[in-house]
Subunit: 143 residues, 2 copies
């Protein structure tokens, strides 16, 4: 039951919440021992804050829940590949695993030649089609 | 009067505040039209949050002050070269100018091959000695 697909669907639900607010629809959850300890979605426009990406909020929220700043035994599920800022934050957090839906060839950290913490396992392509389409549709409707 | 040295001294005062809290002493201010609109220092330990770097807080704070997420006509003064996370946040903010005290060869964005927004002017080496020594002394005393 607790598969990567299962948790990525929850991240997609978060992306839907962003979409309802006319935000770029990116969602994210953090799971520890099969329990969701943080959920968030992009709030850049709502908060008028370029740092309010889904991942940044989730990292802060999970650390608050755990009472420690390192996200050991935690997995972050995010619908779109993290940007440079979010990859930097994930590196500092030493999170155990990051599961990515769709790749972001332009803004994502992978094509910038960056990597996360050596301890961090990275998985890409989980529910890739759904995660990609929600963002593409958003920008298509904007034009 | 309103020179880069003048404003970097204010960033150093913020670093001193971090030092008093036993935080890695890094301080930062954001200036718009010679007026300080944000000041902050590293609070990673105090807030138990890897995202609580001085620059991240200052970006959020300045955007809040300005009522807009882009930091046009703003200059950020920071005592230590921004990390990957903070450089990513600065890129999203499209800030006009970033003035750096000491370089961070290991963790700084420059040696990672990253650059800020094409609009952003970057100046390094302002009060380099003071900015470098406060961090070096901190880690020396930790050992």
């Amino acid at each position: 039951m607790f598969t990567d697909d299962y948790f990525m669907r929850m991240a997609l639900q978060e992306a839907d919440k962003a979409l309802e607010k006319d935000e770029v629809p990116i969602g994210c959850i953090i799971v520890s021992n099969d329990r969701v300890i943080a959920r968030s979605h992009n709030l850049m426009e709502t908060l008028t804050d370029v740092t309010a990406h889904a991942e940044m909020q989730a990292i802060t929220s999970a650390a608050n829940f755990l009472g420690g700043k390192y996200l050991q035994n935690c997995t972050l599920y995010v619908t779109l590949e993290p940007c440079v800022m979010c990859s930097g934050a994930l590196s500092w957090s030493q999170i155990s695993k990051v599961v990515i839906g769709a790749r972001d060839e332009q803004r994502g950290f992978i094509n910038k030649g960056l990597s996360l913490h050596p301890k961090t396992e990275v998985v890409t392509g989980v529910l890739e089609k759904e995660c990609s389409e929600i963002v593409k549709d958003f920008f298509k409707n904007k034009r």
